[in-house]
């Protein structure tokens, strides 16, 4: 597999603040590469450095095997950017916006028209071609933003939090769309602070915090890094200190917390953890509303490694 993006020892400072603190990664062709991290962890900064939109202090960036430095129109031609903020002109209609941004890449008029029509189909904005951006809902606007970035069929597409402030329905559409683009051959870099999204679509993930690399790997690899294998959650108002102590002493349980009437039991290994907990509750006649078991998420990975929640 070819390497599409290669970042080596990237460092970017804003005065004292080190926004990107010396990490490296590679994105292989055909991958959906996830950059996961909380707000301010340096995701956007990394992307802007990759595209040479920002000057960085140290490091090397190669795209398609070529050094990315200064003006590189030949490289930029093969890349599409869907930025974190909606970037469209208010004075242009949906169609005109897409046509304009596509036109910065594709000179041939007929070819461009076909591409623009195709992308409008793709993001399902057919009924809104003549609309001005101000008249679009948040979700539709995000889709327009995406269309403007991908109309020219780039080989590498960079999405910087494309689903921020988007309703669940539009979000699913966007994620489906990204998977489809990937199937059609595009390599994708996807940044988000929603671990569910990253978990759903990314093949390889780099987790960042405060500009530093926290962990990397596939979802499974990341989950294998931590001792947490299962979480049992009990909704109940009747848990005593005594009960918490007892539960903690059950086998394969390493951490129990009780907050807002929710008991969270973290397990490492073991097969029937939920039934052990159930038995204990029944034996001691402790009433509960709900009990269920969850596999750890990337949030648990983040929590275990950094000691804080991914999302506040």
């Amino acid at each position: 597999m070819d390497t599409v993006v290669k970042v080596t020892n990237l460092v970017k400072r804003y005065k004292e603040l080190i926004a990107v603190d010396n990490f490296s990664f590679e994105v292989k062709q055909g991958e959906i590469f996830g950059l996961l991290g909380p707000n301010g962890s340096g995701k956007s900064t990394t992307i802007n450095c990759i595209l040479s939109l920002l000057k960085y202090d140290k490091g090397e960036i190669e795209i398609f095997g070529e050094k990315m430095q200064g003006e590189k129109p030949e490289l930029l031609k093969r890349i599409g950017l869907v930025g974190q903020n909606v970037a469209v002109f208010d004075e242009l209609t949906v169609y005109e916006n897409i046509n304009f941004f596509c036109g910065l890449y594709i000179k041939d008029k007929d070819k461009r028209k076909a591409l623009v029509d195709e992308v409008i189909d793709f993001v399902e904005l057919n009924d809104f071609k003549k609309f001005y951006p101000k008249k679009l809902s948040g979700g539709l606007l995000r889709r327009l933003n995406i269309a403007c970035g991908i109309a020219h069929k780039p080989e590498l597409i960079i999405f910087d939090e494309p689903t921020v402030a988007v309703d669940p329905q539009s979000r699913n559409k966007i994620l489906e769309g990204i998977k489809k683009l990937n199937k059609e051959g595009a390599t994708i870099i996807y940044t988000s602070h929603y671990m569910e999204e990253v978990e759903e679509i990314c093949t390889n993930i780099l987790i960042l915090d405060k500009g530093k690399e926290v962990a990397r790997g596939t979802t499974q690899e990341l989950k294998n890094m931590i001792k947490n294998t299962e979480n049992v959650i009990v909704d109940s108002r009747n848990i005593t200190e005594e009960a918490i102590k007892d539960i903690k002493n059950l086998s394969h349980i390493y951490k129990v917390t009780y907050e807002n009437n929710v008991l969270t039991i973290k397990c490492n290994g073991g097969k029937h953890n939920i039934s052990h907990v159930l038995n204990y509750l029944d034996d001691n006649s402790i009433k509960y509303d709900r009990i269920y078991s969850e596999l750890p998420t990337l949030n648990d990975v983040f929590l275990e490694i950094t000691g804080k929640e991914l999302r506040d």
Binding site: L53, L75, I79, L81, G83, N85, F89, E91, L92, L104
Partner: protein, 359 residues
């Protein structure tokens, strides 16, 4: 690519209702306002000679010769009464004369007036212009008597005593174009607008894009300014003097100066869009004030106190070009003005481009 970027930029300006409104409202509203304010003057074309008392300390001072020489349509413009200080003041108090000119020496010439009005302004202009002539003579810049009378006539011509205000207004219109340049080019600035990121991330050179946007702005400015000129000339019937095509040419050069000023300021690094806008408004309106938008004498005062300001103030540079066109026609001096505007514009464009490249 050129066509697409150019038309997109045009659409961006034309569909920005607030911007178009201001671009048009400013010249039409202000022009009409000036016209109404000075309207009576335009109707009443024959102004009676202005009565003025002259108090001489010495005999045969040049100022007296000049005063006697000023003619309008072959009629003497001033009706001079020679008097002593006391008598002159009585005449002024009784409103028998518009003002008193004290001819103390070659250089020391003073004017006293009691009220403000059009006749008083004409007198002021005459005296101020005399001072300019004297100053220039000292600096060995000679203005012939004929030219001097023309200058005086221009400010004192009873047909268009306020033409200066209109010159200034046109200069303003041209220069205000700089703010629309800012608005337009600002959308390509990655530090201000997300669209700037998108354009930077595209395989099109930033400089090329900036220039095409500049051309679109210049196009709109040419149209707006021409409309304003047509309105002034044919609806308000203001006689700009000079050949009409050259008046348009001068205004066109003005828009070039305005747009390139906008191009330059937009590309200054490390200044927010808001501050840049403030800078441009200051250059335009502040410059307009110094060039005499509110007080016609302002420019002459500056010429005496700090002539460099008149050389670098875009509004002055433009009003100057209109003046020279009117007074001297298509002359070497007019050509100098034209070349100066071109040089200034290219300087703005080139420094602006260098800054784009460095982004």
């Amino acid at each position: 690519m050129f066509g697409l970027i150019y038309t997109t930029c045009l659409k961006k300006i034309i569909r920005n209702k607030a911007m178009i409104f201001w671009l048009l409202a400013f010249p039409f509203a202000l022009g009409t306002l000036f016209f109404i304010a000075f309207g009576s003057i335009y109707k009443d074309q024959k102004i009676k000679p202005i009565k003025v008392a002259v108090v001489e300390k010495e005999k045969d001072l040049p100022i007296v010769t000049v005063l006697k020489e000023i003619k309008n349509d072959d009629k003497k413009m001033l009706k001079i009464t020679f008097a002593d200080d006391k008598k002159a003041n009585k005449l002024l108090d009784d409103k028998k004369v518009t003002g008193i000119i004290y001819a103390n020496s070659y250089k020391d010439v003073k004017l006293t007036i009691k009220e403000n009005g059009i006749y008083q302004s004409i007198l002021k202009n005459i005296v101020v212009s005399y001072h300019v002539k004297v100053n220039n003579a000292e600096k060995n810049i000679s203005i012939s008597d004929k030219e001097f009378v023309k200058i005086v006539k221009l400010s004192g011509d009873n047909k268009d005593p306020y033409l200066a205000y209109f010159y200034n207004l046109i200069a303003m219109i041209c220069l205000l174009g700089s703010t629309s340049a800012l608005e337009m080019l600002g959308s390509m600035n990655k530090d201000e607008e997300p669209t700037g990121f998108r354009i930077l991330a595209a395989p099109v050179s930033n400089l090329k894009f900036s220039f095409i946007a500049f051309l679109a702005i210049e196009t709109v400015q040419l149209i707006v300014t021409s409309l304003a000129l047509l309105y002034f000339m044919f609806v308000l019937k203001i006689n700009f003097g000079g050949d009409i095509p050259y008046v348009f040419l001068t205004a066109g050069l003005g828009t070039l100066l305005g747009s390139s000023l906008g191009f330059f300021v937009t590309n200054i690094k490390g200044v927010s869009l808001k501050s840049k806008n403030a800078i441009l408004i200051w250059i335009t309106l502040g410059g307009g004030f110094l060039a005499g938008l509110m007080m016609a004498q302002m420019k002459v005062i500056i010429e005496e106190k700090a002539p460099i300001i008149n050389k670098i103030n875009p509004a002055s540079v433009l009003t100057d070009a209109f003046y020279t066109l009117n007074i001297f026609g298509i002359s070497e001096r007019y050509m100098q003005s034209v070349i100066y505007i071109l040089v200034l514009s290219f300087l703005f464009l080139i420094t602006g481009s260098v800054m784009v490249k460095k982004q």
